[in-house]
C-alpha cells in the first residue's frame, strides 16, 4: 500500500465519513427523498419496465448504513419510494463501504454475507429477491449521470477503501 493510499484511506475514515454523517443529518428528509427516488427509479428503469418489482408491493425494505447511523426505508407503489421511518419487512445492514463495494460489483454479496460484513434480518426471501434484482441491473445500460457517478467512485475506490477486497 502506498503512502498516498494509506493517507487517503485514513482521511476517508477519520474525516470523510464523520463529515458525511453530519452533512446528511442536515439535509431535509424531503430533499433526500427526492434525490434517492430519482436515482433509484432511473437505475432500476429496465427492471421496472419488465414488471419485476411487483413483488415489492406493500413491502418495506430498510438499508441500514450502520457507520453513518442512517436508515433508508424503501417501498414500491408504481415507482420506488423513500418512506418515513416505520415498520419494515426486511433490513439489510452494513457499513457504507460495504454498500459501495456492492454497488461497484467489487465483491460478491454472498461472500460479504458469509464474512459477516453485511447482515439480513426479517423476510429473507424478500432480501434475497432484492439482491438478485440489484445483480440483474446492467451497469452498461444505466443513464449517463449514474454511470459517471459510479465511474468516479470506482476510480477513488482503491484509495479510499484499500481493504475493500479483503
Amino acid at each position: 500500500m502506498t503512502l498516498l493510499t494509506r493517507s487517503l484511506s485514513k482521511t476517508h475514515n477519520l474525516i470523510g465519513k464523520p463529515v458525511l454523517a453530519r452533512i446528511h443529518k442536515l439535509i431535509p428528509f424531503r430533499l433526500k427523498k427526492k434525490i434517492i427516488e430519482e436515482v433509484l427509479n432511473r437505475a432500476f428503469k429496465q427492471v421496472i419496465d419488465d414488471g419485476d418489482l411487483e413483488f415489492l408491493k406493500g413491502k418495506v425494505i430498510v438499508l441500514n448504513l450502520s457507520d453513518l447511523n442512517e436508515s433508508i426505508f424503501i417501498g414500491w407503489n408504481s415507482s420506488l419510494q423513500v418512506l418515513p421511518r416505520g415498520e419494515y419487512d426486511v433490513e439489510i445492514r452494513g457499513d457504507l463501504d460495504e454498500f459501495v463495494t456492492l454497488a461497484l460489483r467489487k465483491e460478491d454479496p454472498d461472500t460479504l454475507f458469509f464474512q459477516r460484513r453485511i447482515c439480513i434480518q426479517g423476510d429473507t426471501e424478500l432480501g434475497l429477491a432484492v439482491k438478485n434484482l440489484i445483480d440483474s441491473v446492467d451497469l452498461e445500460e444505466l443513464p449517463g449521470a449514474i454511470r459517471k457517478g459510479l465511474s468516479i467512485t470506482e476510480t477513488l475506490y482503491p484509495y479510499l477503501m484499500p481493504s475493500g477486497a479483503r
Partner: protein
C-alpha cells in the same frame, strides 16, 4: 476442455463472456430449474439478448430445465422446453426422463445434456440415457473419486462433464431430499434446498443464528464465517458433541487435477453458482480461464498459482476449498 459457466442474470452472463467462458448455462424465471429464487434468472427478452451476445462471441448457450416436473405443473416444463428450443439453445440440460421423451418426440434434433440432478454414476446408466434419449453429454455428480471418473471415461458412450468449482453438496447429489424433511421442498421438486421463505437470520450482539422453518441450523460466534443455511451444513448436537455432523461448509476446487481430467478425456468443466452475483462469476471464471490456458501452454508442467487459490478461497463457501470426493481412495 470446455469451460461451462453459470449466469443467473444478464450482467453475470456478460461477466462470464468477458472472463473467458466457452459455454454459459442459464435458467428461466420459474421452478423448471434448480436455482429457483425470486429476481433470479432470465425472462424471454433477457434470454434473447444473452443468445445474441453468445453468438457474437462464438460461445455456447445451454438452458437448464433440470428439476423434476410435478403433477400440477407439467405444462410449465413443456413450455420451458418450447421456449428454449425456440430461443435456439445449443443444448438443454435435463434430468427427468419424461421431459427428455417430450424433447425427443417433439424436437428430435435438439441436443440434450443429462443434468447432474439425474445422478448418473455408472456406464450402464449412461448407456441407457444414450440409447433411450440420445443424450450428447452427461454431467457427473460430485460423488465420484478420480479413479471412478477415469473408469467411467473409458466406458462412457457420451461426452462427460465434471464440476470444477462451487459449493459442495452432501454426497447424494441429484437424489437429495434432506431439506424436505424440514421444509417440504427439495432441489429436485422445487428447485431449492433452503427455500428463502423458510430462512431466518437472527443477529444478536455476540452471534448470528440461522433457522430453517424455525429449526436452528447453526449459530456463528463473533467473526466466525457463516454459510448457506442448508440442513446438511448445520451443526448439530450428537451425544455430547456439537459439530458439522453431516457436512462441512466447503467448496470444491479441482484446479490441481486439470491435467488428470484432461488425460482421462473429460470434455467439459462446470462452474457452479447461478445464484451468485456477477462479481463471483467474473472472479471464478477468470481464474479458471487462466488455469486452463496455462495447462494448454505448459501441459504436464502445469502448476497451480497461489493467486488463483487465494481468489477462489475468498468467494468459497466456508472460505476453504477441497478436492471433495475426487480425493477419495475409492476404486
Amino acid at each position: 476442455m470446455e469451460l461451462v459457466c453459470p449466469a443467473g442474470s444478464l450482467p453475470a452472463f456478460k461477466a462470464a463472456l468477458n472472463a473467458g467462458a466457452n459455454a454459459i448455462y442459464v435458467g428461466f424465471k420459474d421452478d423448471t430449474n434448480a436455482r429457483h429464487f425470486t429476481g433470479l434468472n432470465f425472462n424471454d427478452r433477457q434470454a434473447q439478448k444473452a443468445l445474441a451476445l453468445a453468438r457474437d462471441s462464438g460461445v455456447k448457450l445451454y438452458v437448464a430445465i433440470n428439476t423434476y416436473p410435478q403433477p400440477t405443473g407439467w405444462s410449465r416444463w413443456q413450455a420451458a422446453v418450447d421456449r428454449a428450443v425456440e430461443l435456439g439453445a445449443d443444448a438443454l440440460i435435463i434430468a427427468d426422463m419424461g421431459l427428455m421423451t417430450y424433447v425427443k418426440e417433439k424436437y428430435p434434433q435438439q441436443n440434450i445434456h443429462l443434468s447432474v440432478q439425474g445422478s448418473s454414476t455408472n456406464a450402464a446408466s449412461l448407456k441407457f440415457y444414450k440409447e433411450e434419449f440420445d443424450i450428447k453429454r452427461a454431467v457427473l455428480p460430485r460423488v465420484l473419486a478420480t479413479k471412478q471418473v477415469e473408469q467411467l471415461c473409458e466406458k462412457s458412450p457420451v461426452d462427460l462433464e465434471v464440476f470444477g468449482f462451487g459449493s459442495l453438496c452432501i454426497m447424494v447429489e441429484g437424489r437429495c431430499v434432506l431439506s424436505s424433511y424440514i421444509t417440504g421442498e427439495s432441489p429436485n421438486t422445487c428447485g431449492v434446498c433452503s427455500p428463502a421463505k423458510h430462512v431466518r437470520w437472527e443477529e444478536s450482539a455476540n452471534s448470528r443464528r440461522s433457522r430453517l422453518n424455525n429449526v436452528l441450523i447453526d449459530e456463528y460466534q463473533h467473526k466466525e464465517n457463516a454459510s448457506y443455511p442448508t440442513l446438511c451444513k448445520g451443526r448439530f448436537k450428537v451425544d455430547e458433541n456439537t459439530y458439522h455432523a453431516l457436512e462441512q461448509p466447503t467448496s470444491l476446487s479441482t484446479l490441481e487435477i486439470i491435467p488428470q481430467l484432461a488425460r482421462m478425456g473429460i470434455k467439459a468443466i462446470k462452474i457452479e453458482g447461478r445464484q451468485r452475483s456477477p462479481a463471483y462469476v467474473e472472479q471464478v471464471v477468470r481464474v479458471w480461464r487462466e488455469a486452463l490456458d496455462a495447462f494448454k501452454q505448459n501441459g504436464e508442467r502445469f502448476s497451480v498459482s497461489p493467486q488463483w487459490l487465494e481468489q477462489l478461497d475468498k468467494v468459497s463457501e466456508g472460505q476453504q476449498t477441497s478436492l471433495g470426493p475426487y480425493s477419495r481412495p475409492w476404486q
